[in-house]
Symmetry: none
Subunit: 119 residues, 2 copies
């Protein structure tokens, strides 16, 4: 990261990675270099790399798996945070099923708890 623009390093790295994903140079499902390797590659500290990855992880573009690595998200969506309406719809569908799942599991747990505490 030698670019001397006023733009902070962690944003430059995030931009670069985002572009690599969009450009196909990092295919969906493919692993990124390790944090340490990226740090060396961009000539930045571990912290700024972790920040950059954190942003893209927050945007849903990357998925980090502890102990294994960071991977480009496959499946739908991608496209940066504030995406199209289609992304939003998909997100809502996901959330709806997630809520239904949670409700069922909660009911299960609750009944188990009340049974046990009753006696």
């Amino acid at each position: 990261m030698v670019k001397k623009s006023g733009r902070p390093a962690y944003l430059q790295i995030a931009d670069d990675l985002r572009e690599q994903v969009r450009g196909g140079s990092l295919a969906p499902g493919a692993p990124l270099p390790s944090t340490a390797q990226l740090a060396e590659q961009y000539d930045a500290s571990l912290s700024v790399v972790k920040m950059a990855v954190g942003i893209l992880r927050n945007e849903g573009l990357l998925i980090g798996q502890q102990g294994k690595g960071v991977f480009v998200r496959d499946e739908e969506s991608s496209e940066s945070g504030q995406g199209t309406a289609v992304d939003l719809v998909n997100e809502v569908i996901e959330l709806r099923t997630a809520v239904r799942d949670l409700s069922e599991r909660l009911a299960q747990v609750e009944s188990t708890l009340s049974e046990r505490s009753d006696r």
Copy 2:
């Protein structure tokens, strides 16, 4: 931040602030407490507060002004592209984090229960 959920502190703080904005307890244009005050208020380090603010800043919900403070985005301050869609996006983001949080807590409870019934 004393909540003992598995959710990391910087996300809990981000969620809380996001909710305060949506709930109107932090009006558009209003300033947030200083970083140091927030850190004390949440009983967290400066770093995690800065991280939380950074996320919301990245989401466009907050606007930081160096030397002055951090303010809740004021409707049409800066373009921010989609206008009304931003509200929906924020709502979805909030729901997503809420679901993730609940999911983790449920998983915690479930594993505790199954452990206990094992013996």
